[in-house]
Symmetry: C2
Subunit: 481 residues, 2 copies
């Protein structure tokens, strides 16, 4: 169950003198002690966690971050680094004891450099994903990372959690879009690693150690991001398919025909789509008849022409093979955006249907249909009226296997089944050699689950690396490890 | 200068009882003590290093590798892991003291699994790159890593050195083509990390730590590799360009028009091409007139049609802009292979022109023309008759900045200038924020240079990680760090 255990002990309040020393680094204006002003830094979007702290600091530069960490290291003060505070596993929320300070990067919002000829961009950690996308687009380039929270999530958080999203099928995860990092270590030292090189085999690849570490090994303060040519053509289709197997066959056919031009491939069940039709303002079914499953397929290329034909060929072949039963093609950018709004609305509408037990899992791409069938059956066996709504990034094998409560059931009573349902789903994930966190990370929510699913030698190495990089254990303690 | 210092002291010979204990693990047949039989394990292709050892072991399984390392750890025996022994920086060659044993993976040659539906392949470390490419092709898939030594280099070596090669412009480096690893640690523990998942955010990304570590942190024994759809169309052109600036403009134009379909983009100077014409059997100039520079451009896609037209459009636009002066398009697979043979021959023909001082460097892609101009001028200023032949992977900013000796000069006398020329070139690389090892690694050759070019905090982190993963310092000592 993701809900925190009741608080048993509050930490002693931080001495006023120490608060003053931290405040002197960032300036009093950016050292928040007022509980009301602290509130946005102590919560998560699902309201699963409610942290406490004596102090939120908002440094304005890498040097200030370094000075904060040097003082934290000297005094043994635990620190929770925070970006846009949109994480889904509680990694950015301090514990209820109030022992930790929060270090927010949200004042570091400078796009330091954009180099369209070199296809790179150097940004502060606090730059939002939207801001980064816009800066790339302004010079005719694409920064392909794309997730629902792009308006408020930050690059530092994206990299620290190795965010995934809808374009990962073609461009990879957040870590795959990075050439260099600047990182403040636990003791306040700065690693100046803002390299703009595509190839650099001079020693161990440290950047991949800090990315995906959820702020437990260092604080990412800036990054060099890869840019791509802005696509000249984009085509999208909302496709009715009879089953996840058919969706997988369509994915394979699309990739065989269009390769890396398949820049989005999402799978969605009818029942979840009905949530959208019920609750999302203006939502309409693009197709005349209901289908048990849908795919949203997007193709995009740097070439000017021929993409519509490719899409039509893929769909026509799919009709003939019986893996596609109907499809709507976007004729305008508005229509394409409408398709994506239907898909992106699927996260928010679930809460309007009551309690939801959520799993962010992945299995090998080819195993997705079998995984869904087995996990859905197991959920029904456990609670016949529950409503599994598995959806997500089929192209990456990443399914958000969420289970909505039975109609009319008490929400809290349903959520009491979190642990049991989670065990059922995660066990099946394990049978397929899958992952219990495909893209959201471990944070606090899955920390206790990690040793049960991770290779014990890998756990040992993680603990050893943590101990050597953060010997006092002050960086985001109690998260991940 | 890459040549090893004279041996000042031989290590005491390994006790016969210890040799017997190692031999008992792998079987006497695979424990080589005869100097003649050891010879292929003690050299590098450029004959820069000449190692000694008491013992070469050739384990046949991961468990045997683990048992060898457990015994090495127990007895403090240093170990040099080795794949195909094709490395260019001496990382795979034991030192002249004879203190180290060599652990060759060349008996572990099993392709464990190929999954075309899931686009993955699981292979032993000793599988050659050619064998891996062939196993992928046999199921209609592409494993895109491609380097000149593919017939003898191994996947384990490719990953340990994070190999680059000619397709990196589209598919990335070796590390980008891996989903999971199996690694034997210094103390003989096995990390079972052969995941086949595209997304897995459960903790620190350990695989990127072992890849590119050149066998100093662990021994990669197997890997899960990514596969791609086999391209349906491939087009290649041998293009005359007036300058590196024009080559860069052509690269950018090609990528803007064809995006990830640009799967090869090499830059070569006329003087090096003349080496090829002189020495490579059957080599002929595809073009009627000489050009100061050439690009070899390859496009490939999963789509069946339209690629030739795209290539012709790119070249036609290049003619109009004056960045292309002539071009030969491959009409057959044979012609395409001929173009690539001309390019790949450029490495071997240099030794037929006498001494060569070599640099494997990278700079930001957009800086390549300025870097070449400045470095060539500096070399001429140092030695007016020297012959710089900068060539390589323009699409990655990776130039093999090699300098051939003046015609008629004594080879050894020329090679005495190695350190001086290297300093000149590397200093200019540094001015451009470049790397002194783009794709070959550090090994032994550049070990002493590393602290001078690497961020000191990064060096510290590397040393800390090394100390914790290999506390006795037995894994490939004296390499990288």
């Amino acid at each position: 169950m993701p809900l925190p255990k009741p608080v048993t002990a509050l930490a002693p309040p931080m001495p006023a003198t120490l608060i003053e020393r931290f405040a002197a680094i960032v300036g009093a204006r950016y050292a928040i002690t007022d509980p009301g002003d602290q509130a946005p830094y102590l919560r998560d979007d699902r309201s699963l966690y409610h942290g406490r702290t004596s102090l939120v600091v908002r440094p304005g530069s890498t040097d200030e971050v370094a000075a904060v960490m040097a003082l934290a290291h000297e005094t043994g003060t635990p620190v929770v680094p925070q970006g846009g505070a949109t994480g889904l596993v509680g990694g950015h929320v301090p514990h209820e004891t109030g022992a930790e300070i929060v270090l927010s990067l949200n004042r570091m919002t400078t796009v330091r450099a954009v180099d369209p000829a070199g296809n790179t961009m150097t940004v502060d950690a606090g730059v939002t994903l939207q801001q980064a996308q816009d800066a790339a687009a302004a010079v005719g380039r694409l920064f392909p990372l794309n997730i629902g929270s792009k308006g408020s999530c930050t690059i530092g958080g994206n990299l620290s959690t190795n965010a995934g999203g809808t374009q990962a099928v073609a461009y990879g995860m957040a870590r795959d879009l990075v050439l260099g990092l600047e990182v403040v270590l636990a003791d306040g030292r700065i690693w100046h690693g803002l390299r703009t090189l595509k190839k650099d085999n001079t020693g161990y690849d440290l950047k991949h150690l800090f990315m995906g570490a959820e702020g437990t090994l260092g604080i990412i303060t800036a990054a060099v991001l890869k840019l791509y040519p802005a696509p000249r053509s984009i085509e999208a289709a909302w496709v009715a398919v009879p089953s996840p197997e058919a969706g997988l066959a369509l994915l394979n056919a699309a990739q065989e025909r269009a390769g890396p031009s398949v820049t989005g491939f999402e799978l969605m069940p009818r029942n979840l789509f009905e949530f959208v039709l019920r609750h999302l303002a203006g939502a309409r079914d693009p197709l005349a008849e209901a289908s048990p499953w849908y795919c949203l397929m997007e193709l995009s290329t740097a070439s000017a022409a021929g993409l519509r034909e490719t899409l039509e060929e893929i769909l026509a072949a799919g009709f003939e093979e019986g893996i596609v039963t109907d499809a709507a093609l976007a004729d305008t950018i508005d229509q394409r955006n409408t398709f994506w709004r239907l898909r992106e609305g699927m996260s928010e509408v679930q809460k309007l249907e009551g309690g939801s037990i959520k799993h962010d899992v992945s299995v090998p791409v080819a195993a997705v249909p079998d995984f869904i069938a087995k996990a859905v059956a197991a959920c029904y066996a456990y609670m016949p009226d529950c409503r599994p709504v598995p959806f997500g990034h089929l192209g990456d094998g990443n399914i958000h296997f969420n289970v909505s409560q039975p109609v009319g059931m008490d929400k809290a009573a349903f959520l009491d089944h979190w642990d049991a349902v989670q065990t059922i789903v995660h066990d099946i994930v394990g049978e397929f050699g899958g992952s219990i966190s495909a893209e959201h990370g471990i944070g606090r929510m899955k920390r206790d689950l990690l040793p049960g699913v991770k290779d014990p030698v890998a756990m040992d190495i993680m603990r050893q690396v943590k101990a050597v990089l953060d010997p006092k254990g002050i960086l985001n303690p109690g998260k991940v490890l």
